[in-house]
């Protein structure tokens, strides 16, 4: 009984590190899901770990952060955009853009709009409504 207790409380060599209870909460937030078999819960947790490892190593390998011996947000966002397997993450890992660049972009759009008045008038009005 003592050995069993030690095994349960120890953190080394655990089969899965992510807490199953937390994973279950996320899974249950899906409205269509009624119940989840224990094995399925375990597999989902384990798969999520593998996913985290894969996403991290892939982004590191293919990213520029490697040059600075770091994994950066940009590496991840690149992966989401370029790699088909990770495309489902594109919306939650949007590319970052410097505020100054964004302002320049807006200015450019405005200027282009002034040159091509007829085409862009409608668009500009829509933007203002937004």
């Amino acid at each position: 009984a003592e050995m069993a207790a030690a095994r349960l409380s120890g953190t080394e060599n655990r089969l899965v590190s992510l807490p199953l209870s937390r994973i279950r909460v996320i899974m249950k937030s899906s409205p269509e899901v009624s119940s989840i078999n224990q094995d399925a819960l375990f597999l989902t947790a384990k798969a999520t770990e593998l996913f985290v490892q894969y996403l991290a190593t892939y982004s590191y390998k293919h990213g520029r952060g490697k040059e600075k011996n770091a994994l950066t947000y940009t590496d991840l966002s690149h992966t989401a955009e370029e790699c088909e397997t990770f495309q489902f993450l594109a919306d939650i890992l949007p590319k970052k853009i410097l505020a100054s660049k964004y302002l320049k972009m807006l200015e450019k759009e405005k200027r282009d709009g002034e040159v091509r008045e007829d085409d862009d008038e409608a668009e500009e009005e829509e933007d203002e409504d937004k």
């Binding site: 069993a4 089969l15 899965v16 590190s17 992510l18 807490p19 937390r22 994973i23 996320i26 899974m27 937030s29 899906s30 269509e32 899901v33 009624s34 119940s35 989840i36 078999n37 224990q38 094995d39 399925a40 375990f42 597999l43 989902t44 384990k46 798969a47 999520t48 770990e49 593998l50 996913f51 985290v52 490892q53 894969y54 996403l55 991290a56 190593t57 590191y60 600075k68 011996n69 770091a70 994994l71 950066t72 947000y73 590496d75 991840l76 966002s77 088909e84 397997t85 489902f88 993450l89 939650i92 890992l93």
Partner: protein, 134 residues
């Protein structure tokens, strides 16, 4: 998902000494949650196809293939074996405790459940093997 755990998983995956920005870490954590949702929804589709209301192991494995994470399937199956063995061990330990507490009826129903699970397990494993051969 707990930050400490996510960070540990990332660190263990990357070469020593690589820094992970806080932004990157929280992004990965968010990605992991989205992954769970995506996998659950996909697995649920397989369950519904099988006219089942309960997600089972096979559904999750099928979902992985569907999502183009076939590379996960083999290691997942291995881990599942170990997990099932562990669970069996725990159940037996609990059974011993229950016997001492005089609840034999409970044991009988649990045994029946185990048999059902075992049958299903065998079927699923056969199915999976067939797919792999193809």
């Amino acid at each position: 998902l707990p930050n400490a755990v996510i960070t540990r998983i990332i660190k263990e995956a990357l070469p020593d000494g690589v820094n992970i920005s806080k932004e990157a870490r929280s992004a990965i954590s968010r990605a992991a949650s989205v992954f769970v949702l995506y996998a659950t929804s996909c697995a649920n589709n397989f369950a519904m196809k099988g006219k089942r209301k309960t997600l089972n192991a096979g559904d999750v494995l099928s979902a992985m293939e569907e999502m183009e994470f076939q590379r996960f399937v083999a290691p997942l199956k291995e881990s599942l074996e170990v997990y099932r063995r562990e669970q069996k061990g725990k159940k037996e330990a609990r059974k011993d405790k229950d016997k001492k507490a005089d609840s034999e009826e409970q044991d009988k129903s649990r045994e029946e459940d185990n048999d059902d699970d075992d049958e299903r397990m065998e079927e699923e494993e056969q199915n999976d093997e067939e797919e792999v051969d193809n």
